[in-house]
Amino acid sequence: MTKQLSRKDKQEFTALAEIAEGRANLYRFFGGFYGDVPTKKSLAKMASDEFVAEMTGLFGKRATQPLRTFAEKYKPAEYDTVVREYQELFVVPIERKFVTPYESVYLTGLMLQDPHAQVKKSYEKAGVSFAPAKAVNLEDHISGEMGFMQYLAAQESKAWKKSKPSSALNFLRYEVDFLENHMTLWINDFCEKLEGYAIIPIYKGIAKMTAKFIDLDYTQAADILEAEEKRDVNK
């Protein structure tokens, strides 16, 4: 027998669906940025006033300062510089410039160690298959992990929209666990390194915003999960 949902419940599910959808979009944005060279179009969008204002609203003035610098100074003719910087930071392992965007490296000092295996297991457990693409060659690449979080948040949003709270909470539990056991353990160090190595402001900005985003997202997701679980128990 299906339980009749109250209007309040429906409103809350809609709000939670919107939050999850917003989070999924941000994961897609950041994951895409680390996964491939940004296009001229996406860079132009990032240099726009609307985008800067939106990011400032989300992450605050301090975290978006380099983005503002980038937006003020960026000229489409400098696109090649951005491409070179991307290659040096994320693709070509040149000493003192390559940021090795893999979880395993930050937690153990080496690639393909236990954290990588754990990430792989997490994907399998959630029924997600990993497809290597361009620079994202391993499961624990930052872009791979962002993609996984995007998938989970999108599924959570769908479940809230369909008024299936237990399914939505299940996805949320996966998200919080993955953030706790993986992303929050290394993203800060990665971002610090990226901020230090990057020369052009867009990558410095992305580093600052990523760190802030993961911090805020983890807090928000964990708080929602705690509140919803408590509500579930009290019902």
């Binding site: 919080v176 706790e180 929050t184 353990l185 911090d215 983890y218 807090t219 964990a222 708080d223 999960l225 705690e226």
Partner: protein
């Protein structure tokens, strides 16, 4: 000597050190201004009446809300330092009183006003079996001729437990500190293999200063 006689020349640490009995009968000074590996100074290290190491920490001013976690982390780090180097600390004492050295160190915190956001952290530490007492400190420090008036602060009846996110972040920051200490400590040991934990003549602090310049100030 009482604290009030030379209050002008002495700072708060000395005033508290001289008046430990006002906090708790039988509390005696073991050492003051003990340096730690990361440079955070332990204000007073005391012994209680059953010879248990007691960290007496002083927050001279009310800690603003945004600083609470940082201060609690520093407090927890100092407590961990005492626990880690307990045997060395005892070895440095004139009289070894090792029979009771296995008891975990305690914490006494003196502060003019404890921010409400600090209670969940202290409560969590208490749940981890760290005995903590909080005393209200006069603000400003007792002036010459005035007796210090320190009152034991009662624990609130209901303390909201730390949220999952806050506890996780606290643990992450703590692991960072532990790793930092390990790196600094290993560097110190590499430089001087005979360096053995805490030393009365502050070799540790001196070596650290030599290696890292001024380094981080604890407070």
């Amino acid at each position: 000597m009482t604290a009030t006689t030379n209050a002008k020349e002495k700072d708060l640490t000395d005033i508290v050190a001289c008046n430990l009995e006002r906090l708790e009968p039988g509390l005696t000074v073991f050492d003051t201004r003990v340096p730690t590996v990361l440079g955070h100074e332990i204000d007073i290290l005391a012994l209680d009446k059953i010879k248990r190491l007691t960290l007496v920490a002083i927050w001279p001013k009310k800690v603003p809300g945004r600083q609470v976690v940082k201060e609690i982390l520093a407090l927890f780090y100092r407590w961990n330092f005492i626990s880690d180097f307990k045997e060395d600390l005892w070895a440095a004492a004139d009289e070894r009183e090792v029979t009771l050295a296995l008891r975990p160190p305690r914490i006494i915190l003196l502060t003019p006003e404890l921010p409400p956001t600090a209670w969940p952290y202290l409560n969590w530490m208490r749940e981890c079996h760290i005995k903590i007492s909080v005393f209200s400190l006069d603000e400003p420090a007792p002036a010459n001729g005035k007796e210090p008036d320190w009152q034991k602060v009662e624990w609130p009846e209901k303390i909201k437990p730390l949220s999952r996110a806050l506890l996780h972040k606290f643990n992450l920051d703590n692991v960072k500190i532990v790793n930092e200490q390990r790196i600094v400590w290993e560097a110190l040991i590499a430089q001087d293999p005979l360096l053995n934990g805490y030393s009365k003549d502050r070799r540790l602090a001196a070596a650290r200063k030599e290696m890292f310049g001024k380094g981080k100030e604890g407070k």
